[in-house]
């Protein structure tokens, strides 16, 4: 895993050297409610928390209607609303995603991501691995030759071992194209 992280970091550093037509950098921010549905018997069917996410990508490529990127992600999820004698613990996640987008119309695109992450329960020195997948829509807000800003509305499934969680986020995605004709 350390080797994989090293290779990803190396690619991120080297990618600007190969700044060709269509390559871009990206920063995405989003906030979401987090509904965790346990696979074990709990007092209530699901527990509600919230969170925020930030992704950076130095390996993005856009051509015609298609858009691919590899992104590194931080996700912070709060503890859930307490109910009864229990509440779900909050955690911080570090992971990476592969993202694919298809431009439906000039201002609307659909996208999908798959990724994996390591999650650290806040304050209790405990960690777990998980996987994430998302589907969403992207609405173009503004763009010019180098910059592009979109509103994103993804629905994410956080696939934990003992819980499946649904996130319905709203976010902003900023893309910077290093070459004018990149788009």
């Amino acid at each position: 895993m350390k080797r994989v992280a090293f290779i990803i970091a190396l690619l991120c550093v080297l990618s600007p050297l190969a700044a060709h037509e269509g390559y871009y950098y990206t920063l995405s921010l989003s906030i979401f409610p987090y509904l965790s549905i346990p696979h074990y018997a709990d007092d209530i069917p699901m527990r509600t928390a919230g969170g925020g996410e930030a992704s950076i990508g130095a390996l993005g490529f856009r051509k015609s209607h298609y858009d691919f990127s590899l992104e590194l992600r931080y996700r912070g999820t709060t503890a859930s609303i307490p109910h009864g004698f229990y509440r779900a613990r909050g955690f911080d996640s570090l992971g990476s995603d592969l993202r694919f987008a298809y431009q439906l119309k000039e201002q609307i695109a659909l996208f999908a991501t798959v990724g994996t992450e390591i999650n650290f329960y806040r304050g209790v020195d405990s960690a777990f691995a998980s996987f994430s997948t998302a589907l969403g829509a992207e609405f173009l807000l503004v763009e010019n030759s180098f910059h592009r800003l979109s509103l994103t509305v993804p629905i994410t499934l956080h696939l934990r071992k003992e819980i499946t969680a649904i996130q319905t986020a709203v976010g902003l995605r900023y893309q910077y194209f290093s070459t004018r004709d990149g788009r």
Partner: protein, 309 residues
């Protein structure tokens, strides 16, 4: 275009709000609080004596009494001290000798299992010696201590109804913390490959009503002198977290400092202890100089509420 974006967004947020089960489902009411408090000073036994253990247990008993209220609290102090008088108490019509042998403690837990309900809180505290996840209890006779596996203790508690919190202030008690099927302690299993292998190992998770809070993961636990009074470093911070003033021997009337938004939880206790104990905790990047003592709690997706205010 913006209209197109806000409509689905508004629908999603509204539906999520409606699905927030916590806002609509009735909450259970807290029941009684039972506590078994075990402390040994090992005077007269084949171990180094510990002067802070007995005050630890006695003051925890007072603090829990104050938190739960006299009428809702039943505490059983199992004390070993040289020359001490051994009391007998009746638990669920079973007379139990309050001396910390394996048999007496097992009898007490078995007796409790017939009297508690799902809404009760059951506390077990241990102040004494331990090694590798085994605690040192008093012998029935003679001076050689009897070691007792924490896992055996936890198995016994699994038959007791209610929320259970086992608090262990002794060396290496982190080894006694049960492994969670879905998550790993970063203090004991700090490896990404272990975390991923846990994801795929097929072991099923269950909601645990038994939490274990220990003074240390895999290191020694220490005592120290606080304003002339000897206590375990961990328990001293725990008492403060509960709102107990060790110097005056009184309970604060305010909400305990470890409580957040009117709830005192297991994780809240742990966070407070880590932030306020006098010994350093283990840092992920830099190992501090000198003795360290890193408290630990059982893993899993949930945190458990002990008291509400």
């Amino acid at each position: 275009m913006m209209k197109n974006a806000f409509l689905p967004l508004a629908i999603i947020l509204l539906s999520l709000l409606l699905f927030s089960c916590e806002l609509f489902m009735e909450e259970p009411q807290a029941g009684k609080v039972y506590a078994i408090l075990v402390a040994l000073d090992y005077d007269g036994l084949n171990q180094n004596t510990l002067a802070g253990t007995l005050p630890d247990a006695k003051e925890q008993n007072k603090a829990f009494t104050a938190l739960a209220g006299d009428e809702k609290y039943e505490g059983y102090l199992f004390i070993q001290e040289k020359g001490g008088i051994v009391d007998t108490k009746t638990i669920n019509s079973t007379p139990i000798e309050l001396y910390p042998t394996v048999k007496n403690i097992e009898d007490a837990i078995s007796a409790l299992s017939g009297t508690t309900t799902a809404d009760d809180l059951i506390l077990f505290t241990f102040s004494g010696h331990a090694k590798g996840g085994n605690i040192a209890l008093a012998p029935k006779s003679g001076s050689v201590i009897e070691t007792y596996e924490v896992s055996r203790l936890l198995d016994l508690f699994s038959s007791v109804k209610g929320r259970k919190l086992i608090i262990l202030d002794a060396c290496e008690t982190g080894y006694g913390v049960p492994s969670d099927p879905a998550s790993s302690s970063t203090l004991l299993e700090n490896s990404i490959s272990t975390w991923y292998s846990k994801y795929f190992n097929g072991e099923r998770s269950v909601k645990s009503d038994l939490f274990v809070l220990t003074s240390s993961a895999n290191t020694d636990s220490y005592e120290d002198i606080f304003n002339g009074k000897r206590h375990g470093v961990f328990t001293y911070a725990l008492l403060k977290a509960l709102g107990w003033n060790v110097d005056t021997g009184t309970m604060s009337t305010a909400i305990p400092p470890a409580a957040k938004r009117g709830r005192l939880t297991v994780d809240g206790l742990l966070s407070y202890i880590k932030a306020h104990q006098t010994l350093k905790t283990k840092k992920s990047l830099f190992k501090p100089f000198g003795d360290i003592q890193h408290p630990m709690v059982s893993g899993g997706a949930l945190d458990m509420t002990l008291f509400t205010f």
